[in-house]
Symmetry: C2
Subunit: 275 residues, 2 copies
């Protein structure tokens, strides 16, 4: 048996236990000894923000981040404006539940070039950066896997996210690193170092890439089930200076069918063995 690792570094995304409400997430995470949670916005739809905040506090949980804002890119000005309004709402939600970070899935519009989408992403972040600062919430640019370049993110490498963070040169514009999206990148380790040196890294997400994968969106693996060199990459992330939580974000139709208490125990075990 491996030595148990301190659980206080482990953070669960509520999307990892998708069947649960926010109240169920808080109750069960707390009972399992987990201290941090990244809240997905769907769970805030029918819960007043003050209630969400007290649910977290009453269960001894800290909000690591809110997922997610972004989707800045569109050929239509009205959609870009709507995205800004939605991001402002997300910043208020994050501040209200005490989340220091808002994760951004930046968006892409297949009707235009990736360069144009990235330009609109920069414009979108610039438009809300002062609100992020006044609310005390960091905007974390999350590069997605290149398979999402068509319509979900024109930012598909850590180098591109670092470029954007450097462009803003603000403590309120950072980076979210999800190994599922980026593990294949030959430049990943050097960009992790660059991300750390710049002080950009704000969120660190783990899961695993299964072989075979039944569904590239909703068949992510539990840590240790796939081919991502999790321990090596976590070491690089920590060598770069990161001291934040290790966030487990697993979308999995099959795992969502399990008894979610059993699933949380399996996650904690896998985290101890493989991260």
């Amino acid at each position: 048996m491996p030595d148990p690792l301190p659980k206080h570094r482990l953070c669960l995304h509520t999307a990892t236990t998708k069947p649960w409400s926010l109240e169920e997430c808080c109750r069960h995470y707390s009972a399992a000894g987990i201290g941090q949670v990244t809240v997905w916005r769907n769970l805030l739809e029918n819960v007043p923000l003050s209630r969400a905040r007290s649910l977290l506090a009453d269960h001894g949980l800290t909000a690591a981040a809110l997922c997610r804002g972004g989707f800045f890119a569109s050929t239509q000005a009205s959609k870009r404006q709507a995205a800004l309004a939605d991001n402002r709402r997300a910043l208020e939600q994050a501040a209200a539940i005490g989340a220091p970070t808002l994760v951004l899935v930046c968006g892409a519009d297949p009707a235009q070039s990736l360069e144009d989408s990235r330009s609109q992403i920069r414009d979108g972040i610039a438009a809300i950066l002062s609100e992020a600062e006044s609310l005390g919430v960091v905007l974390a640019i999350e590069p997605l896997h290149p398979m999402y370049a068509g319509d979900r993110s024109a930012v598909v490498t850590l180098a591109q996210a670092n470029d954007m963070a450097e462009f803003f040169a603000s403590p309120w514009a950072g980076v979210a690193l999800d190994l599922y999206h980026l593990w294949w990148d030959p430049a990943l380790e050097q960009e992790i170092e660059r991300c750390g040196k710049g002080g950009f890294l704000r969120s660190f997400h783990v899961s695993d890439w299964k072989i075979p994968t039944a569904d590239l969106l909703n068949d992510r693996g539990l840590m240790g089930e796939g081919c991502i060199p999790l321990r090596r990459l976590r070491e690089r992330v920590e060598a770069s200076g990161f001291r934040g939580p290790v966030e487990v974000e697993i979308f999995s139709t099959s795992y969502w069918k399990l008894d979610q208490e059993v699933w949380v125990r399996r996650i904690i075990d896998a985290y101890s063995r493989h991260c």
Copy 2:
């Protein structure tokens, strides 16, 4: 209506009309005015190589390439040896049908690091390079999309393929560029230029990336149906000095259900409009 483009640049992969035998491909491609074909090896399984060669010649068709060799990476020495034997057989097949190029899907073993897989790929190519030279067949390293890094290709960017071609510095080790795999890469245009300057580019494949895509393997789009900037990238490829055929390689469960003669006419039309 756009001006018709010269069809002699258009080359079809037999996998694009998967329901057809080699004889049917030759007959129908020729009738449609297509002059070049990239042959997939499954169609050679039950056809003597001399017969395949005369089928092509009798229909006025030139073989642009043979698909495919590769799969060099494995933790097991016996599998690496078997891959070499299979690649030697593929080289003989390519030479026998007059194909100047063997396309390589290089392989990856999820049980080891991507670096180790790439090292084995280099070793594999080195082991067969003299046979490629003596048979007059170029080995073309094809980077696949990063979604295949786990088990099909540890080579996922044009930069990595260019690195390998530079490493060998041989006219018998080149590169195959498929825009479906690489269109998302922010370094693509500079690497196309590098690929051209080095004289590496031997095969150029087009299709399109649909939004949404039902199946990332077998729901590729016809040119113009998706978000790949085909004309711009083709211009970059030609500006780099490439004068070879434009190969249409579309895996599509839905298009394979069409009358394949209708499908070929749609491909020719889309090629004229969008490439």
